[in-house]
Symmetry: C2
Subunit: 202 residues, 2 copies
């Protein structure tokens, strides 16, 4: 399965955000919510073979990771507000610890940040989406079960860049412009679709 990981530098790790002012009140959690739609939803269906992790590094509860598995997720709606409501419920659940706990069908949360995630995923083929890197289309063998790391609107911190390089994540790009993370996911998914890598179920 393709497994996207989006790192929110300031995205809030608790439910203390306002639905009526999501961008300002949540450390731009809206960016990450839109990535969830792009990663998991297609027309009238869910990408059952796809997973996305949101690394939330903002607020006093940080760092935490929310994981959404297309294979088990239910009732996912594409609009930002519905996804924000879902995330709020997950982040407000009385769970703790560094193991993933399923709070809603297919939606889990765990304490920890990128290093905890990399430790769990050691050995998985990985790519990091970076401007100016080698074009994804030119990568001959693209591991469909690979990890795809993306930054948010602030990009990656130097620490994250170093950790991803040490992990062996291969830098790739999706074209000449710097796009929103969700558009990058759409283009990566499209490239994998064209290579026959994904499975769909409504």
């Amino acid at each position: 399965m393709p497994h996207f990981v989006v790192i929110g530098q300031l995205a809030i790790a608790s439910a203390d955000f306002l639905l009526q002012d999501l961008p300002s009140s949540s450390g731009r959690l809206d960016v990450l919510l839109r990535c969830v739609r792009a990663a998991l939803l297609v027309s009238h269906g869910v990408r059952r073979d796809t997973r996305i992790d949101l690394c939330l590094n903002g607020g006093p509860r940080a760092p935490r990771i929310v994981r959404i598995d297309g294979s088990a997720a239910r009732f996912l709606r594409p609009d930002e507000r519905s996804l924000a409501v879902l995330l709020g419920k997950v982040l407000a659940a009385p769970v703790a610890g560094s193991d993933f706990v399923e709070v809603r069908p297919g939606v889990c949360v765990a304490e920890g940040g990128l290093l905890r995630l990399l430790d769990e995923l050691r050995g998985v083929p990985a790519y990091v989406l970076q401007e100016g890197a080698r074009d994804l289309r030119g990568v001959e063998v693209l591991a469909a079960e690979g990890l795809f790391f993306l930054g948010d609107h602030l990009g990656f911190t130097p620490e994250a860049e170093r950790a991803l390089a040490a992990f062996g994540a291969v830098p790739v790009s999706v074209g000449p412009l710097s796009l929103h993370a969700e558009d990058v996911i759409s283009v990566v998914n499209n490239e994998l679709d064209r290579r026959g890598a994904t499975t769909l179920s409504s």
Copy 2:
């Protein structure tokens, strides 16, 4: 300039929708709002050479068209709620008639539907995004200043399909899966970017 046209079969042509329940109260205007972001916004910038028309065919004020020009638009924000607030203001403005009236910088509204639009745009190279059609990547010459017609979550009506065929719009697709309209726009923009067709300005 690439010029996207998204046809909302039921999308409301007035401001009579609820921000806290956009999908249900607006005839899925949320689908079209997400297309605006995908068409016009990149990381920290606007696609100044791109335009999008939203054909709104729902509610008593329909049909109306909202046009957003990247060349003139200001204060465009990527989150769905901000875009809904903007559309609400535009749709509530006391303007009428079949000529486009600029209500906010770069954002115009006019009465009329697809046929009015096709009449205005006669002679412009046009593509219609359809599942199973010829792959966009294989289209040798892709008019960067072309029209790209997309349906919403309901697709095209038979009337719209006939009108687009009569207009000479060339059916193209973006891969093996049926994607959300906004993802289709992301992929089309990416293909045009790669062909060196677009201009960006922050």
